[in-house]
Symmetry: C2
Subunit: 311 residues, 2 copies
């Protein structure tokens, strides 16, 4: 896989949380480990395309973490450092790793986060709005100038508490990413296919539904694509899998230019591949030691495991 | 799609329950409708290959149902009629259609079911042991002579209560079919990939894990295949989906001869396609009005929705 940008490619702007997470699963635990949706998405996307990160951290944010992000070609001009502590999430998982249990959410400096894009970021062609208050997602959309492609994520908290603004964001996005439960909640449709169709009606041209270990699917008005997850016999920590998926997806589109159904399908598989690495270890540990050739290998394995002949 | 048998094909022997079901879902209900694992599997397989059905019904079993099965090229010499009533299952589903709630199981004539294969059945090359007491599955295996391929299904009840005999059956089968919960229960592994590997160690060359709306995967010692379910915006009654899947799978293998990884992959897709029809209506209604060309169409749609290019 060549990591150089295609003629239509460009950098990716990623806006969202940078956090310290304390996570326990049946397979281990970490304290104050690097996390946050924007962080997972940025490192993931950086394997495909240069990334510009917009977020906020506190005074406790460690230089080593800044260095790790910078080392991955993540531009940090948009990462503000504010007085106070970095956003902190604590949670655990039982053997059902699809269900995160939150024990504490300390917003800290994230509480007053107002995305203010550096001038140099405003023409970024590819934009990923990670899960944050949809009001803030809208302010980002007001600041960018004619992006090529905008993708957004959301979560149950905003669907419940700020539904109208979530719908406003969806209407201004090209790709809506969400997990199965969020799609059902947003649409009121228990059937996931019907739910995805419903979300399309809110405006985005493409909906990608993430189903964890069950893979994902992508739906547009005239195409449907089913993607498996990469089969892993051991998952240590699912935190950040969905954000990593989104990063791989938008990163690939930024690399090749978002044209044609197959570019989007390959992007979904890139998302799947990247997420499969994240869950192999806690925090961003696996992503930060990942080699590009491992991505190609796993991608080709998914090709092989989905091929079958005509009837 | 040609429905004629290939040079290596042959009929399929299917052993299991023939039942009357009373089922309620959020989308309707039926009383005393044709059902039972062997019934779903037989009608499904009959679209690909001649079927020989071994089961038992009571005196209440209607001629119209005999006629419907016979009309589908299902040989009924092995369907015994016993004094008493036909096996009856009553259950319902909430909006989560993956979870069946049983309200009554009346075994009736099925309680004394002892599969006794007609002499003409004993050389049947393809055998599907639907979910029944593993002790009975073993007596079937004792009666058949050098089958080409044996597939089996099971359920939580037997894994819990007759584990050793379930393992005996698995050791004598080529393909073990089960759903995700059963694989986890049998193996004691919460991770589904690890669970499937574990089941392979019990002896079968191939394990197929059915995941309902999330599709299925097939694992052997040197191959992995991920198959989506056919996306349906409306599912009316999931009863019999897994049995229909198994019937399509073994039916296809019986049609083309069970040789080569791709034949097995195509068989899994046939299973997926057949199951997608069953769940569109209650009982066997949809299967019994299905046209062969609808199978080919849906198969090709799955081809189209799983294709993507190299990185």
């Amino acid at each position: 896989m060549s990591l150089s940008l295609g003629p239509k490619g460009g950098p990716v702007l990623i806006v969202g949380s940078v956090a310290y997470d304390s996570v326990r699963t049946p397979f281990g635990e970490v304290e104050d480990a690097l996390g946050g949706a924007a962080c997972y998405a940025s490192v993931s996307a950086s394997f495909f395309s240069p990334v510009r990160l917009v977020g906020v951290v506190g005074e406790d944010f460690k230089y080593e973490h800044v260095a790790e992000l910078a080392h991955r070609d993540v531009d940090l001009e948009g990462l503000r450092r504010s007085p106070g502590k970095t956003f902190h999430w604590s949670g655990y998982y039982e053997y059902d790793l699809s269900q995160a249990h939150t024990t504490a959410t300390e917003l800290n400096v994230f509480e007053d986060f107002l995305p203010d894009l550096p001038e140099a970021y405003r023409d970024t062609p590819f934009v990923f709005l990670a899960n944050i208050d949809p009001a803030l997602q809208l302010t980002v959309l007001d600041q960018v100038r004619r992006p090529t492609l905008v993708a957004c994520d959301t979560m149950n908290f905003w669907i419940e508490g700020a539904r109208d603004r979530v719908l406003e964001v969806l209407a201004r996005c090209d790709i809506a990413l969400m997990n199965d439960a969020e799609a059902r909640q947003l649409s009121g449709e228990p059937n996931l296919i019907a739910a995805a169709r419903h979300v399309l009606n809110y405006g985005p041209g493409v909906v990608v539904i993430k189903k964890g270990e069950h893979g994902s699917f992508m739906m547009s008005r005239d195409s449907f694509f089913a993607a498996p997850s990469y089969p892993l016999g051991e998952v240590r920590d699912p935190t950040g899998a969905g954000d990593t998926f989104a990063g791989g997806l938008i990163g690939h589109l930024a690399r090749v230019g978002a044209e044609g159904d197959d570019a989007f399908r390959r992007a979904v598989i890139c998302g799947s591949v990247m997420a499969s690495f994240t869950v192999e270890d806690f925090s961003l540990s696996r992503l930060l030691r990942l080699k590009p050739e491992e991505i190609s290998e796993r991608y080709h394995e998914i090709v092989a495991m989905t091929r079958f002949g005509e009837l």
